[in-house]
């Protein structure tokens, strides 16, 4: 489905070059929900932008359904962290959600149906005519999610979408993402810096090293499919996984593409099952 192969990105400035991504390879199957977590400044956003076709990598490639990504591919939607900057302030909620659909020329009726449904599933059925700036942060991010849902993407990329909302709203939105993922049969890559979120949400968690970035560990989250904030988070297994990811992130702060050889593989860690 989604293949990242030896992806490299080096930013070249006037006086210095910054190697953000050393060499990243991983694979995401159709209908998977994968979280990507790493220490601050590890190039998560760079990676996501390369995958979304918004940024050209220096080396390697991203393949979507066997075709290399050279620009924003159709069938992919991106939800950004900065909801306030990713919505059109001059359009009401409805038009924000509907605009990307115009290009698809689905016909008025189908378009209306998609928009109505998308706003319904994110719980904004009564906010069609509000402007984004009249809504709370969490609701604005729901609009951005509704826009992605209405677009009917095969792949949904999310770049720390809940980093700027309060904790309670965040829990609601996490459950919303799990629900949407299961109902829509969409492939989700969810980038986060929050360890709990990385464990709670996904089927797999890819842990990145610090910059220049490599994949430090590809961890299967073997929690039951039915998750809820209360029971999942208080389960023993959740605690173990959380502790493991935490350790790995701590280690990742000192580990990068430059130190790869000297750090022992985490594959044998007692508390986790490595993904093969």
């Amino acid at each position: 489905m989604l293949d990242v192969r030896n992806l490299q990105k080096t930013y070249t400035g006037r006086n210095r070059t910054v190697e953000a991504l050393r060499s990243l390879s991983f694979h995401i199957d159709a209908n998977e929900l994968v979280c990507l977590v790493g220490p601050s400044g590890c190039g998560k956003t760079t990676l996501l932008k390369c995958m979304a076709g918004l940024l050209a990598p220096t080396g390697g490639e991203v393949m979507l359904d066997g075709r290399p990504v050279s620009g924003p591919p159709p069938g992919m939607a991106v939800v950004f962290q900065e909801y306030g900057r990713s919505l059109f302030a001059w359009m009401n909620v409805r038009d924000n959600v509907a605009l990307p659909l115009r290009r698809k020329k689905l016909g008025k009726a189908r378009e209306k149906e998609l928009v109505d449904h998308a706003l319904e599933v994110v719980g904004l059925a009564d906010a069609h005519h509000a402007y984004p700036w009249q809504l709370s942060g969490g609701m604005q991010q729901r609009v951005a999610i509704a826009r992605a849902v209405a677009y009917e993407p095969k792949v949904l990329l999310m770049d720390e979408p809940f980093a700027a909302v309060d904790a309670q709203t965040r829990a609601d939105l996490e459950d919303l993402i799990r629900r949407l993922w299961r109902e829509l049969g969409v492939t989700v890559l969810f980038v986060t810096h929050d360890i709990d979120e990385a464990v709670y949400l996904g089927q797999r968690t890819i842990i990145l090293s610090k910059s220049p970035t490599v994949v430090q560990e590809d961890l299967t989250i073997d929690l039951p499919d039915e998750r809820d904030q209360l029971h999942t988070r208080s389960s023993a297994r959740f605690g173990e996984l959380r502790a493991h990811v935490y350790e790995q992130i701590q280690r990742a702060k000192h580990h990068s593409g430059d130190t790869e050889a000297s750090v022992p593989s985490a594959a044998g860690a007692a508390t986790a099952t490595p993904h093969l």
Binding site: A52, P74, V78, S86, A89, W90, L99
Partner: protein, 260 residues
Amino acid sequence: MTVLTAGRRILLLLGMPAVLFAVWWFATADSTDVYFPPLSTILRKFGEVWAGDRLTADILPSLLRLTAGYLLAVAVGVGLGLVVGMSRVVRDVLEPVLELFRAVPPPVLVPVIMLFAGIGDTMKILVIVSGCVWPILLNTVEGVRAVDEVLSDTCRSYGITGPSRLWHLVLRSASPQIVTGMRQSLSIGIILMVISEMFAASNGLGFTIVQFQRTFAIPEMWSGVLLLGLLGFVLSLLFRFAENRALAWYHGLRRAQRDT
């Protein structure tokens, strides 16, 4: 409550003009100075001079030229501003030239424009364009350059490109700044409308006012000045009305940002 606030607003809006008019009225009440006739005389002349034939013979042509020049300046300013704002190369090439042109005061262009455009409406419209275009152009360039990066990425990832991007993203997000430029240009346009009619004209407000001055019809001349002031006031009211409608989202956004 709302009646009270509305009354307060009207009072604030009209208070100062009323005071100024009163001062003018009483200061010139017994004036025998030819150059400063009593306001009562000016107001009497006002009705006589402007209500009749001059409405269609002078006021209308002036307003038509102003409208034509202003709209042309908006079209050229916004169009060119989009091109310059979106392309780095064009910006680097054009910026020094634009700065030079902008520095030339439009009134000195009147004789130049007369050389190739004659002394008719074309010349007057071009003079208005030559002054009005700059604030609109420069503000549009700034507005276009300031389009949010995240929103731009959002558009790209949803395949909103080309004309759709131009309309829904670039123009709309630059609109507050474009409107700022348009507001500045409006007052420049009125000034240039009058100036262009003072050089070579057979009708129009500027022409008529100069004509009155040369024939020592001083109260009539004053009434013309009054009319120009009134015209500017009404146009800026209309502008503000249109702006409040077109940029309701922007004012709302600003208020929301202030409150948090």
